[in-house]
Each structure stands twice: as C-alpha cells, then as structure tokens.
C-alpha cells in the first residue's frame, strides 16, 4: 500500500487510528498489537505478481526475520563482548546479509558469471521482497548494538512494532531502536493528542503535495528524456541533457523527501516522532554537507555500522579515503545490484575524498572558504552529474533490464550536458519527446529547494522530528511568522495544498525508493 492512495487515506489510516485509540485505551500494548497487525496488512497487500493469487510468503518472511533477530538480539545482550556472543553476532549479521544478498544480488552475480563463463545458464528472475533493504538494516543495527550492550530487554510486541511500523516500513526513514522503543514504552501517544493530530495531518499533506503535485509532474519529463537516451534513437541536445538531469534532481528530491514527510506525519498521528531524513540537501555547500542532509538516516547507518567499524579516520589519512570510498560504493550497491549504482557510489566516494582533501589543504594553507552561492552551485553540479547514472540504474532492473541501456543513457545524457553533441538547445518538434516549456516549469521547482524553508523548518515550533538541532539553520532561534501554527490562515493554506493534491490525485504512482 502506498501513502498517496485513496485506500490509505480514506480507509487504512482512519481505521488504524481509530483502532489504535480504542485498543490503547484498554491497554497500551493492545494498541501496539493493533498497529503491528495493521502494519502487516499494509505490507501484506503487496503482491509482486497480481496475475497470480496472493501469497502469505512475504509476510511470513518479514515475520520470520523479526522473530529470528529478536531472539538473536536477546541472546547477544546476555553475551555482550564475549567470544561466543561475537560468533553469534557474526552468524546473525551473515544470515541477514545472506537473505538480502540472495534476493538483491544473486541474480546480478549469476548474470555476471553467465556473461564471463557461460555458467549457470538460464537465470530465473528473483522477486525482491518489498522493503527488505530497510528492515534488514534496522535489524543488523539492533544485533550489533545488542552485542555492544546498548540495547534493553524489549518486549516482543514493541520490537515487532519497531521493525514493522507501517509509516517507515517500506522506504524508511531508517529508524533506530534507541530512538523508537523508548517512545513506545513512554506511551507518548497519550500526551498532546490534538497537537499530534493537527501537526501530523499538516505534515502529511505537505508530503503529499511534494510527491503528487511536484514529483509526479516532473516524472514524465525525466522518464521521457532518459528513455530516449537509453533507446539511443538520437543523441540528446545540450538543452535536453541538462533538462534530463535537472528535472530528475527535482523529481527525486520531492519524491523521496515527500515520502519521508508523509512517514513522519503519519507516525506523528500516533504520537511517534521519527528521525529527520532530509534537510534541504540542495542547499549544501559541500558534498560532505550534502550527505549530512540527504537521506540522513541511511548516511547515519553507513557511518555507524560500516565506516566507523572499517576504521573511520582513526587509521591514517590514506586508510580514511579508502574507507570513505568503500562505504560509498557499498552504499551505492545497497540501492541496487548494477553497474550504474556502483558508478554513482564510486562518484560520491571520490567526491567525498576530494572534498576532505580540499578541507585539509584549505586548513593547512589558511585559505578562505569559497563564497557560499558558488560552493552551493558547485556542489549541486557534482550531485546532479552523479544523479545521471543513478537514474540510469533503473534500466538495469527487472526482467528486461540491461546494463547496455543504463550505460547508453548515462553516456547520452552526460555527453549532451557537456556539449559533446553540440550546443543546440532543443530538438526540432518532430523529434522532441518533451516540450521545452514543461521542462523549464519543472526545473523552476528548484527555486523552492533553494529559497524556501523546508518542511521541518515550517513546523519547527512543534518539533516534528528527532535530531533536528544538528544544523546551523535549524536551531531553536526566534519564532518566525511563517512557521506553522494551528491558525485559520494555516488551515486555509493547508486546505489549498490538500485541494491541489486532490486535483492531481488520480494516478497511483509508486515512490522511487520502493525499488530499493
């Protein structure tokens, strides 16, 4: 089920809320059990092949994963820092990665082996279970922390809810047990119910607006241009190349941050606060800063459970750069098995290395930082260059996926952007796949990213998310007139957003991050 559906908004969410309210009145844990049940329904309606009957397999898979990890975790918390515990941790992490690896990478690796050696012949396609990348990472973090002695004795229902809670289940934010489970036990839902409802609903509407009105209108433009690039019917023009990259940058940001807003808003209706996942990433003035603002919870996971265990910056400069590169390459492959995602990860790894080296040189020589607008512009340029292979990675997925198409799309778009196909702005009408004015309109949405506050800044008075104070531009500070309050003006504004959503809310469009 997806947030931008009538099923979710008209039936599922009201039912989940009313049921939770009624059950939690009797007993809090009964409310949690209700939420677990609803979350499994939310997950279970997914059927990868609707031409075949629905199967409980995927619900059992996630339940099995939860049960296994819960008991591994309990065992580990009783054997922290012991050799036996380490062995069990290794086994648990390997089992999780093995499951993820089988579903996500077996097909890719078998394809590579077949290409190189002719073995293993026909490779049947493997259906990637929805959200497996997300729930596997949540639980690996739990196991590692259990071994480190950083977990408590959680109740099984609470643990199930932590993993399966529907607002974050499908595409994050990648929540952490330390920030979720204490909220459950504190029973935060009872306090400030009306504040939670008003804020949660408004946040949800903002997320819907970003996804339905902006991202979904940008998607056909980016799809048409990247599709043309992948088919290779003709080289893209200079204007088309830039439009493809810029419109995709708009689509991806509003799609994923819109999804995160909807998740944060939905959770808040139940009195639960999620960690921040985006904080105006296109305002970043360096790639290092970009990764502090983009998909924050994934960056946090990669830092805490990959980069730091690899040695982080504690083992010398050279090793630090190797660790950075490795972390980003693995982060790229987390998004999908394919060369395009690998290239994307590699590019960001290189960016980070160069960025850190630049910081070191600047510090050593006492150079001033670049002027902020220039730094933001340069960072954005490098980020959108990397988005090109990231978008092209979609052509490698699925039964009809092809690496050649992904490579062709990447080359065609990047070639056009850098003038290798000449400097014509747009193709003649009989050859164009998108009207230039539509692309311009979509690109104009970047102004929203650069010149307006982001969602959590609008809602700052009511602390919409956890971890909001780590940014200079998101501290407590004075109250502003433009910050959200439950007033008539804001109600009217929210209704305008809602009506805009309803006016364009006719297509069921999945979120980009569902494929990961």
């Amino acid at each position: 089920m997806i947030f931008n559906s009538y099923l979710y908004l008209l039936i599922f969410l009201p039912l989940a809320l009313l049921g939770f309210g009624a059950a939690a009145r009797v007993k809090l844990r009964l409310g949690f059990a209700w939420l677990v049940l609803m979350s499994l329904v939310f997950y279970g309606v997914w059927n990868p092949d609707p031409s075949k009957p629905w199967s409980p397999f995927y619900v059992l898979l996630i339940l099995g994963s939860c049960v296994g990890n819960y008991y591994f975790g309990r065992y580990l918390s009783g054997h922290k820092h012991t050799t036996k515990g380490k062995r069990i941790l290794t086994f648990g992490v390997t089992a999780n990665l093995g499951l993820l690896g089988y579903y996500k990478y077996a097909g890719f690796l078998a394809g590579l082996a077949k290409w190189a050696t002719g073995w293993p012949g026909h490779v049947p396609s493997i259906v990637l279970p929805l959200a497996i990348s997300f729930f596997t990472f949540l639980q690996i973090a739990y196991l590692v922390d259990a071994f480190r002695g950083e977990t408590e004795e959680y109740h099984f229902t609470d643990y199930l809810l932590f993993v399966t809670f529907f607002p974050h289940l499908i595409a994050g934010p990648l929540v952490h047990h330390k920030e979720m489970l204490p909220q459950f036990t504190r029973g935060t839902w009872k306090h400030h119910k009306w504040i939670n409802l008003s804020m949660g609903l408004s946040y949800l509407v903002c997320g819907l607006f970003k996804k339905v009105v902006i991202a979904d209108n940008a998607a056909p433009i980016a799809n048409a241009l990247f599709g043309l690039a992948a088919r290779g019917e003709r080289p893209l023009t200079f204007g088309e190349g830039w439009a493809a990259a810029l419109v995709y940058a708009v689509q991806l940001y509003f799609d994923f941050s819109g999804y995160s807003d909807m998740a944060i808003g939905s959770a808040r209706l139940f009195g639960i606060r999620f960690p921040l996942n985006f904080h105006s990433p296109y305002k970043a003035d360096s790639v290092v800063e970009f990764w502090r603002r983009w998909h924050i919870t994934l960056s946090r996971f990669l830092r805490d459970y990959l980069y730091i265990p690899l040695g982080g910056n504690r083992k010398g400069k050279g090793r630090r750069y190797v660790n950075l590169l490795l972390t980003m390459v693995l982060g790229g492959l987390w998004h999908g098995a394919g060369f395009a995602f690998l290239l994307w990860g590699l590019l960001h790894g290189l960016y980070l290395c160069v960025n850190h080296a630049w910081f070191a040189v600047r510090k050593k020589r006492g150079w001033k930082a670049l002027p902020k607008p220039l730094a933001i512009g340069l960072t954005f340029l490098f980020v959108i260059i990397a988005w090109v292979p990231f978008r092209a990675g979609g052509f490698e997925h699925g039964d009809s996926g092809s690496t050649a198409k992904a490579v062709a799309a990447t080359r065609n778009v990047l070639g056009a952007m850098f003038g290798f196909h000449g400097f014509d702005f747009w193709a003649e009408r009989s050859l164009s796949v998108v009207k230039d004015c539509y692309a311009t309109r979509a690109i104009a949405c970047l102004l929203i990213c650069w010149f307006l506050p982001n969602t959590q800044q609008f809602f700052r008075r009511y602390s919409p998310a956890l971890d909001v104070r780590g940014f200079d531009d998101n501290g407590r500070g004075p109250r502003r007139w433009w910050q959200w309050r439950p007033t008539g003006v804001w109600l009217a504004f929210t209704i305008v957003l809602l009506v805009s959503v309803l006016a364009t809310f006719d297509k069921l469009s999945e979120f980009i991050y569902f494929q990961f």
Partner: protein, 428 residues
C-alpha cells in the same frame, strides 16, 4: 504562585482547542470535498463506472469521456452484454460506426482507444472475453507501425487507471472512480454539456463521432503540423533500427488470435488506413522498407499459423486497408478553400465513417455503399506478398499520375527544413 498555574492551564486548554478546531476543519474539509465528489460522481456517472440507484440516466447522451476514454469504455463494456466489439486505436474509434444500418439490431460497441498499441489491445481483448460472454465477433485494428515499435501504450495513456488493467489494485481504482477528481471533472463537464445542449465527442456506443479536429479547421494545416511530423518521427525510429517486426508484438497478436478462437469468437484483424500524405513520408525520408511490407507479411503469417493450428476451428481473417488506393489518396482541399472538409478523411491518419462503412462492408460481405471501394483492401492471410508489393507500387504510380499537385505539396512539406518546423512552433 497559583495564578500563573491557572493561566498556564488556560493557555494549554486554549491551545488544545485551537488544535482540535484545526483538525476538525482539515478533516471536515477533506471528507466534505470527497463527499461532494462522491455524490456528483454517482449521480451523473460520467464515466460509466459509478452507477448507483440514484444515477440520473438523462445524462447518458452527454457524458464527457474524452479525457478518460479507457476507464469510460471499460465502463461502457461492463454496462451491457455486447455482441460485436470494434477495437484498435483512434483510427477505429473514429471510422467504425456502431450505428451503421447494416448492423441491424445487433449490439455493437466501439472500443477504439486513442494511441493504443497491441500490448494494450491484448489486455483489452482478455477483458472483453472475460466480462462479455455474449460477444460473437471482434474486429481488432492493428497499426502497421506498432508491429515494429517497442512502444507500449499501457504506460502512458491512462490504461493503468482503467478497469482494463489486470494488475492494479481493484479496490483503489473503484475508490478513485467514486471519490476521484477526474470523475468529478468529467461530471462537471457532462453537467455543463447537458445544460448547454451540446454534443460530446463520444457517443453512448463509444464512437468518436464529433469534435475530431482539435479545433483546427484546415486539413492541410493538420497534415503539415501533425501528420507529417508524426511520420518523420517514425522514419527516425525506423532508420535507428526499428524497421523489423518484433517477435514480442507478433506473439501478442497470436495470443489474441488464439484467445478468440478458444472462446469461439470470430476475429477480424484490421490494418486501418492512413492517408497517402502519411504513407509516403517514409519513401521521401528514405526509411528502410517504407511500405512496411515485412510487417504486412508477418501479420498474414500469424493469422495463417494460428488458423492452421486446429483444423476446422473458427478461422480468423486479416484485412489490410493501409495502402495507396485512391480512396486513401483523396484529393486535399484546394488552397483557395482551406477549411473545406474531406469526404473520407478527418486528417492524414484518421479516416471518416464513409470509409469505415466501405471497410466494414468489405470485411463482412455487405453491399458496398460506394462503388469506388470495390477493390479496396486485401486479405493479408490470402494474398501473395510479392503480388501485394506490386499492387502497392502500381497504386503509387497511379496516385502520382492522378494527383500531381497533392504529391508535389506533400513531398515539399516532407522535405521542408527544420526552420519550417521552428516557424510552426513560433506560429503556435
């Protein structure tokens, strides 16, 4: 000390009231708007998918389905048991008249869907066979260009939002029809159409009978700005390697043939015509196999193959009207009277009902309404491909001879430079 505590309690209570009012306002508006949509959508039933006991059937002749043809035509289909269903792209939607007197009292539905490809029509055929047990005959239009193109209309035409889509969630779809804004917009348009006594583009039988020129009065202009650029795009695709029939598309055609045969439904595959102004663009543009003879041959072979699979089974037929016959080369309106309508053609790719009547008469063995159509169309499953090619070459020579002015104009327009296209853009 107690005073501030009371004030704080008051402030908290006031704050709570404000939040409660906000929530009630927002939720009330949301459900209020959707309630209004649901009432209008079920009362007017503009797309034929939201019937209810309180639906006002006086809206039926005014229903505005133009923007939601997939959904609405599926609604029409599930509204009644049809005996004959006409399918294909907009070429079929416009030319094939379900009220042609020769049909008699048979229940005929035009299910032509603009820009549809065989990938979509395969799924629509499945839907028809599943939901319409009374159907006896299907006429399915297959565009020649579609056979060698990877395009798939299910991705971009509203197919996924329609009941035809076997994959999408049915509950979500039905909720959207009842509460959705597109149904509501159609309801408002239908209500306005009825109030003004206007005629909508589509009839209650799914025939696209009115408003077919998109407000453009001049056929030459439509050909110049729509038909020829469209054909040029096709030439580019063919030159880039898209000139051979695709096995995947032919498999879909065979699948349609087998489904109909297995359900005891008589199938006629129809290659609908284009005006010569479209057909000659690949010649002038230097496309490989400009008349797509490989595609014609492949369609004929598919029909023959499936017919031969079960001897004595219901035999399908394939009719090809997309050649250079003079009916497809009807003279363009004179320059001095550019707004004059053509008798057989709406524009360069859509023929009108008079030509549709000839096609139906040829396919179904009815008396010809127009003697000019005596040799119009060939059976692809019967004709020898070499003879077919010779026939088309002869038609081309005859066209150039009989309509030299039109030929020169078309050739000039095709060869016109990029700057002309840019000029058109500016004019628009």
């Amino acid at each position: 000390m107690s005073r501030p505590a009371i004030n704080m309690a008051e402030a908290a209570s006031r704050g709570k009231r404000r939040h409660r009012r906000f929530v009630l306002g927002l939720v009330g508006t949301f459900f209020g708007v959707l309630g209004l949509f649901a009432f209008c959508n079920t009362r007017i039933n503009p797309l034929w998918v939201t019937p209810s006991p309180w639906t006002d059937e006086s809206f039926a002749p005014f229903r505005q389905i133009y923007r939601n043809t997939r959904t609405a035509k599926a609604g029409l289909l599930r509204n009644k048991d049809w005996e004959i269903v006409l399918m294909g792209s907009s070429r079929v939607a416009i030319a094939m008249d379900p009220k042609f007197p020769e049909w008699g009292d048979r229940k005929v539905l035009n299910l032509g869907l603009s820009a549809s490809t065989i990938t979509e029509n395969k799924l629509v055929v499945d839907y028809v066979l599943k939901h319409n047990p009374s159907v006896k005959r299907l006429i399915v239009g297959v565009d020649l260009t579609d056979i060698s193109s990877r395009s798939d209309s299910t991705r971009s035409t509203g197919f996924n939002e329609s009941p035809f889509d076997p994959v999408g969630g049915a509950t979500e779809r039905e909720l959207r029809y009842v509460f959705g804004v597109s149904t509501f917009r159609a309801a408002v348009r239908t209500w306005q159409t009825k109030r003004k006594g206007e005629i909508p583009p589509y009839t209650e039988l799914g025939h696209w009978a009115h408003h077919r020129t998109h407000g453009m009065a001049s056929v030459r202009k439509m050909i110049e700005t729509g038909t020829i650029p469209g054909a040029k795009r096709f030439v580019v695709a063919r030159k880039a390697g898209g000139d051979q029939p695709l096995a995947s598309k032919l498999d879909l055609l065979k699948s349609i043939l087998r489904s109909c045969r297995d359900h005891g439904v008589k199938l006629t595959v129809l290659v609908p015509p284009n005006h010569i102004a479209y057909l000659v663009v690949p010649y002038v543009g230097g496309a490989p196999d400009p008349m797509m003879m490989a595609n014609r041959r492949a369609i004929g072979e598919c029909v023959k193959e499936v017919n031969a699979e079960i001897p004595g089974s219901l035999q399908a037929e394939a009719w090809d009207f997309d050649d250079l016959h003079l009916l497809n080369g009807e003279a363009l309106p004179p320059f001095e009277d550019p707004t004059r309508e053509m008798h057989y053609w709406v524009d360069g790719i859509h023929s009108k009902e008079p030509l549709g009547h000839i096609m139906l008469s040829r396919m179904l063995g009815w008396p010809l309404p127009d003697p000019a159509g005596g040799d119009y169309g060939v059976r692809l499953d019967l004709i020898d491909p070499a003879e077919h090619a010779r026939r088309i070459d002869a038609q081309f020579a005859r066209y150039k001879e009989e309509r030299p002015g039109d030929w020169a104009w078309i050739e000039a327009k095709v060869r016109s430079s990029e700057s002309d296209a840019k000029k058109d853009d500016e004019e628009e």
